[in-house]
Symmetry: C2
Subunit: 308 residues, 2 copies
């Protein structure tokens, strides 16, 4: 089977750190081009300044991975879907829920694959955690996601603008795991958002969710963490505690701890390849809906300004 | 066929002005009880202080209409659905999207009817507007929804709290019509929200949407309108202009203008009765999702304080 020819659109940090190496290590894909007005991709790979230019001049591609900021993703995705080109969306899948729903309807109508990716769901501990939790009764969940924004998002102004998500940009990774591993649907109850006085998006948030069985779920998000970073989810159940740490890579169950190699992006590309070969899409907006709910219903408090 | 015994939970302005008269005029229903810690319902109808008390002491009911502020609706709906009691949700159907989705899953699982009502969709001009637009190409839409909050929501503090929607409480009526009459899905592009410095929710908003065909849709919401009030939607198409005014009651097409009697709430109860008899639910969250998107992506500006 010929590899799927894919172009990366948006050659920022996540494209360089994750997408390009993952594509190069996945036999189902070949990297056909990179597209960005700012940054070039790897030596020897055709580079174009815009998706328009790629579609006009080639090289021909079967798929695109959209790694731009979310605010411009919808228009790019429509351009691709109109040409029958399969689309991989980095997370979050758009700047609004309604544009993702509109994309999903469009992809379904034209029979082209749309994949709204949630890389944290492919962290090594997540699938076994989901399996272990599938027949448990959940009593309580605690999520602590505290990191240093200056390390992980240096100079990324878009992330602080409306349509960027502020601290929910990492927080949505936790929510993508949560909604995947819990056996019952999750909904938001209350949120307190801390917004720097010079920014539009939160730098910290404290949120209460519940699952449909009534189990309380607390999430502590903070971008002001220096020193050790925390990406932990602890689920207390009728059969003991399930803990995912290091963003889902390390799983601790009553029976012991599993450490595994990080294969998130190779996992995503393997999934994307299977979706294309199978003629299907995968667009789950649950994590994004929970974030929208926090913006919809959250209490806002203004905190000290943030300077990069 | 025996009438469906229904209790109204939350006896505020909307219950007194609309629900009680509509139930009394709809043969499919009989008003079995009213429930509120604050306000009594009509003379001669059993009254309880809480839903707990109703479920414990009776009278027996087949359905409830939840007319409370949205912030408390989820828990009430769960209580009812657990007992196999059908649920009518006033708009907006909850305080968050995720709780409405969780309710819908629960209702489907137990086979009980859940109806997320959008009363404006039952305004007289809406069904013919939808039919007329179904095979048109939409070029442009303009929505102007300007009213005096002191007239329509006097002293309703909940509407200004997180989970109340501020000016989107009436604005969601316009969106419920928009999403019902346009032939293509709608998504949000930009929003500017004006928030009084002493309140959590917007008093005005200016929003750009588009439909999947790219037609621009502009919405102007303002709660500071004194004098004549405006509830107008103008849709320009390849076959001329469709205008809904007076909140959907009056329809003007190239062929002329239709005025019709307002039958919104009787229409809702007729629909709810049909859903119950047919064993189905009707939970469309599209209008609510667009509002969440405005909160998610909107630019906020602080404006002068609002005092009731």
């Amino acid at each position: 089977m010929e590899p799927i020819r894919i172009a990366i659109v948006g050659v920022g940090k996540i494209a360089r750190d994750q997408h390009i190496p993952a594509i190069e290590s996945t036999p189902a894909f070949s990297l056909a081009a990179t597209v960005s007005p700012n940054h070039r991709g790897p030596e020897g790979i055709p580079h174009l300044d815009s998706l328009d230019e790629l579609l006009e001049k080639g090289p021909a591609v079967d798929a695109v991975a959209l790694c731009t900021p979310p605010q411009v993703r919808y228009d790019l995705a429509v351009q691709a879907l109109k040409r029958g080109i399969h689309v991989f969306l980095e997370k979050p899948p758009g700047a609004t829920l309604s544009e993702v729903v509109a994309l999903r309807e469009r992809a379904d109508k034209v029979g082209v694959t749309l994949f709204a990716s949630w890389h944290s769901r492919f962290a090594a501990g997540v699938a076994p955690a989901r399996a272990w939790l599938s027949d448990r009764t959940v009593h309580k969940v605690s999520i602590v996601w505290r990191e240093d924004v200056r390390v992980w998002h240096p100079g990324q102004d878009w992330i602080w603008e409306p349509g960027g998500l502020g601290v929910f940009d990492p927080g949505i990774n936790a929510l993508s795991i949560l909604t995947h591993i819990l056996p019952q649907p999750v909904f938001m109850k209350n949120a307190r958002l801390s917004i720097p006085e010079n920014r539009a998006a939160p730098i910290a948030a404290d949120i209460d969710f519940a699952d449909a069985g009534g189990a309380p779920i607390h999430m502590d998000l903070d971008w002001r963490q220096t020193g050790p970073q925390s990406w932990d989810i602890v689920v207390e159940t009728d059969a003991g505690t399930c803990k995912l740490s290091q963003g889902g890579a390390v799983l601790t169950l009553p029976s012991g701890t599993e450490h595994n190699e990080d294969l998130e992006y190779p996992g995503l590309y393997s999934r994307f390849g299977n979706l294309i070969r199978g003629g299907r899409s995968d667009v789950d907006i649950d994590p994004f809906r929970l974030v929208a709910d926090a913006f919809l219903r959250g209490h806002r408090q203004i905190v000290e300004p943030f300077h990069d």
